[in-house]
Each structure stands twice: as structure tokens, then as C-alpha cells.
Subunit: 337 residues, 2 copies
Amino acid sequence: MSARVTAFDVAARAGVSQSAVSRVFSGASASGETVRKVREAAEALGYRPNVLARSLITGRSRIVGMVVAYLDNPFYPDALERFSRAFQSEGYHTMLFTLPESAPERECDRIVQQMLDHQVDGLVLASVGLSDALAARCAAAGIPVVLFNRGQSGSALAQVTSANRAGGAKVAEFLIAAGHRRIGHISGWQGSSTGRDRTQGFIEALRAAGWELAGIEEGRYDHGAAIRAADRLIENDVDALFVGNDHMAFAVMDHLRFTRGLSVPEDVSVIGYDDVPMAAWAGYELTTVRQPVGRMVSAAVAALLRQMEDMSAQAGIEEIDGPLILRGSARRPEGLT
Amino acid sequence: MSARVTAFDVAARAGVSQSAVSRVFSGASASGETVRKVREAAEALGYRPNVLARSLITGRSRIVGMVVAYLDNPFYPDALERFSRAFQSEGYHTMLFTLPESAPERECDRIVQQMLDHQVDGLVLASVGLSDALAARCAAAGIPVVLFNRGQSGSALAQVTSANRAGGAKVAEFLIAAGHRRIGHISGWQGSSTGRDRTQGFIEALRAAGWELAGIEEGRYDHGAAIRAADRLIENDVDALFVGNDHMAFAVMDHLRFTRGLSVPEDVSVIGYDDVPMAAWAGYELTTVRQPVGRMVSAAVAALLRQMEDMSAQAGIEEIDGPLILRGSARRPEGLT
DNA sequence: TCCTGTTTTGCATACCTGTGCAAAGCTACG
DNA sequence: CGTAGCTTTGCACAGGTATGCAAAACAGGA
């Protein structure tokens, strides 16, 4: 087990100074001859620069922290994978943190603190909020933060979401055009901006068309809660359901069909939100609003990179629009194929 | 934006030396009085030890690298989340790497190299192999590796899998007991030990009972491939299908029901492997072999921790047994509720 | 009180690289 | 050949912590 080979070893073998080696590997200017000698010696010795020492002195770790609440909803693994790939190809690495289910808000701060300890260059929070105190701390440490799929009103943090309000509105217009009049809504968690915006856009568009919601229940992005909510709305005799995300929509469809013996969309139309891959499966054929994961992730990555490279860059709010994908789980307006 | 506060600042304020501060925070022995003064000064200044500097000198980063091929199959996000939680609670952090889809084997080595650069203390490879050269390099660097859900014959690396051979055998015995005679198999990727073992256990148990496979097709853990494989087997008139994992089994069930107009299990019994949460959903009710994720992750984490703490610890192979979960997608033997 | 054995403490150094600074080397031009 | 301007190079140090070593402090027993 050989000891680690350092820049000094390479320098000695190449007949140059350690600084020369450093310059070659950090891309600073050096003569062609020096570069050649150093590269050769490094190759022979199997030298690789020590990332820790480099980070210690430059203050940049080339690590981005990624906080994620839960990976049940397939939307998040998908996003996570894309984030990881994107950062990797930009020369960054991803440090993953999962929030414990107990006391998530409380723990989040501790977790972010640990990230700061590791001197991450940037932070992505997926569906997770950040206390003002901690946000200030990140700002003070010069660490840019991007909120992914979650807004935080009044904060100066960069945010990337889909156009949730517009998405909710699209669903409302579509259901009305299809002739539905008793429309129910199983909302996402109202503690999240994402959930609130979808609900709000939906309700406002209904009102604008002169209709009111026949019933609304909170689904909290939870399987069981969604099913109970569906039961209550069905008792209330609705003929269409807008569900806060696909994941809950699947549960609702299964429940309606197999437990309650109803047909979708003949008895009840169901519309979801996200367009996860499973929505296209033959067993569900879920009509849903697409969240363009790819573009959302790209936007978030771009925003973070911009801020990491230019500390004075402004943090903005980005809303990415996504289409309503028509499939079989909701009745279609007359004359629409 | 205040400059970083170091151990020297704390030392000055507490009236002790920097070493004293270091000792307090690294848990070495110190007098009660010193501890009190240091803690107090640190609190007042908001001091936090610099992880990079610490890692640089100790050679241990308290980071574990995690390589994952793809997160489509919900088995992996689930495992990933548990890994992350487990390591977090042990004071380790998780660095995530995803393999690019192109040239995965080639890229894997580069990725692992990058992890070594970051001086990770340990490595978890989920469904990913490691070239012998690189395995040797990890060993030389004293970095323990655990293969998760993937074996590698002839390697000295620690491995945690489920009892794939036994699982395949259980399925065979169950199908025979239920009276199936024309049995088909859509295998997992035969380049992976996991896929091979399931197939092999299945076939051997069939033979032991005096039967032969009516047909076998490679599914490669891929949605589309699985569907095409199912078509070919159905042409071949099978009345039962053992599918290499749940993810493919869902695709197959959808295809049989909605495209081919067949009933499951009346026309064809379908059995999967993994028991992901979705298998219990009313839309599928998939009979499947459970891979006990929780226990598998715990075993992998324990194995890694053991090796990280005691470098001379032996790397072993662990197979975790899982039951066949009976649901509605496969016909049951007479007299079995 | 003196001596021995045990803690505690501070000093100095190591870990490994990036970078400011000044000296040295080189090119080109008059 | 001299000099100005530019590039390359080496020196020395910084970044923040852990730790071996020796000195100091302390506890206890005779």
C-alpha cells in the first residue's frame, strides 16, 4: 500500500518546482515543455491532485448540496437523476441529503448547516423550504440557493417551478369544456406553494367561467389521504376530480375502479399533475399536466451555475409552462379527437 | 460578510491554545474547565470546525460514495433514500453518482476515480460492477466497497443481494403447485448476477420437479423489451410468466390486458420480483418475491461501516432471503387461501 | 516534603495545494 | 548590444486542522 503521491513527487521527477505542477493541473499558463514533462511524470507516478487540499485553499469545493424530502413520488428520482447528470457534466459533484420524516423543518436547518460545513458551492432544495435565518446564513457565506418545485414568498432565493397556477387553470377550462359541472378537487399539501398555486389557479379559472367547486379535500401528497378524500367527494356526487399530483391520482383511480366499482372516465373523470412516466402506462392513461422535468432541471442548474460563477448575479423566479396531456382518464370536449 | 472564524480565534478568546480547541472538538481528552471555556467561546463566535482541513489531515472524509445506474425502477430510489438516511445517522454523508447511459462500464471507472479523488471513506455500488483494475486501486487506497444487489464472481468485494436463486425456485414451485405446465420466463439482464441467479434458480427448480421451461426471453429490465418478449411467449401459448422484476411485470400485465385482451390471472399468471410499493396497488395486485430493501440496506451499511472502522475486517457475501408475496396476479394452488 | 505516575497543555509540524511576488528567461526592436 | 515588454519559473507562504512530543500541572502515597 503505497503512500499518496503528491505534487512534490511529480515535481522532483519532472525536474521542476511544485508550483509548476500546480499550474499545469490548474490550467494556468506554462510553457509547452514544462507541461509535457509534468504530464509525463504525473502519468508515470499515477498522480492526481488532492481535491481536499485544493478546496481548502480555493474555498470552492465543486460540490453542490441537494436536499430532498422523499423519493416516493417518481417525479423526484427523475429530477434527482437529471440534476446529478447535469452537475457531473459541468464538473460538479452532488451531495445528497434526505430529510428525516420527523420534524422535517427543524432538521432541515441542521442538514443545511452540515452542508455549509462541507463548503458546498451551491444548494438545491427540492420541495423543501428554508428558514429565513438559514437563508441569511447561506447568503453571508456566499452560497447560492435554488428552490426547486417550491416557491417561498418574500424570499430572495432563486426559484424554479412549473407554471402551477396556469396549469391548474388549464385543467379547469378543459373540464368545463368537456361539460363537467360537479367538479371536485383533491389538493396537494397546502403548506407548499406548489400545492396552493395549483389549487388557486384551478379555482380562479372555474370562477372566471362562472362555476364553483363542488368540493375540495386536502390530499397532502399522501396515498391514503387521497383515497379518503376521494371517498368523501364521491359521496358528494362529483363527476370529475382534479388531483394534486399523479401519484395521488393513481391511487384515486385504483380506488374508484376496484373498490367503488366506478368507471374512469365514464362515471368520473380524473386529471393529475406531473406526467410521470407511469401516467402513460396502459393501466392508467392518465390525463395530466406535464411538468417538464428536463427543462425545469436545466433552468435550475443554469441558475445555480450562473450564481456560483458570478456571485453578484441576481436570483430570479422562473416558471416553466407545461401542456395538458390528453389521455383516456378524462372525458374530452365534443369535437376534440 | 465576516471572514471565517477559525480555531485560533476561539483559542484566543478562551485563553487556551489552538490544540486545546482542536481536542475539544475532536473528542480527545481535556479538562472539564477547558472544555467549558472553549465551548463558550465557540458558541459566542459561531465557530464550526472546517471539515476540509480536518479531512485533509486525518485522511478520512466521512463521505461515502454511492453509484447508481438508473432510478427508473422504484426499487432504487427507495434503497437510495434508506442508504442516505442510514449514513446520515451514522455521521456520514452521501455523494451521489449516476452512470451516463452511454458506455456505462467505461464511465464507471472514471466516476470511481473521481470518488477516490474526493477521498471517500467507502463506496456503495448499486447494480453496478467494477473492473478488477479499479477494485485493486480501491483496495490499495484502503477504500472498502460494497456491491448492492449485484454480485461479482471471483471478486473479493463485499456483496449484499437478496437470495435470488432461492427466490426463483420459490416461484417455480408455486407455479407448478398451482397446476401451470406451460411456463414462460422473461429474464432480467443476463449480464448481471442478479438476473442470472433468478433465472437459474427458477429453471433448476422446474427441472427438479420434472418440468422444462416452455420459453425464455431476455427482458433486460427494459419496458419495451419486456413487452416484445411477452408477445413472443404468448404466441408460444404459455399460461404463466415469471418476469425478472416488478417494473417489467407491470408493463407486461398492462400489455396482456389492454393490448392483447387477456385476463390476469385467468388466462395468464404473472409473477414479478422486488415487491416495490406499487405491486400492492389495486390496479396490479402483483404476486412477487419480496426483496427486503430495509434489511438489505442495513446489511450493506453495516458491512461498510465495519470495514471502514476496521480496515482488516473481512469482506463477506450476504444473501438476504425474502418471501413470495401472494396477491392476485397469479393463480393459487388448490386449497390455498 | 519528595517522588512517581497520570493528565493536561502548548509548541511545532504535517497534510497538499494555489498564488502573490520578484527574479529570470525570452523576444523583438532600435 | 542594450533595453523594454512579456512570459515563465521558483520561492515562500497561506489555508485550518490534528497530533507526536516534551514540558507542565496535578494527584497520591510514603
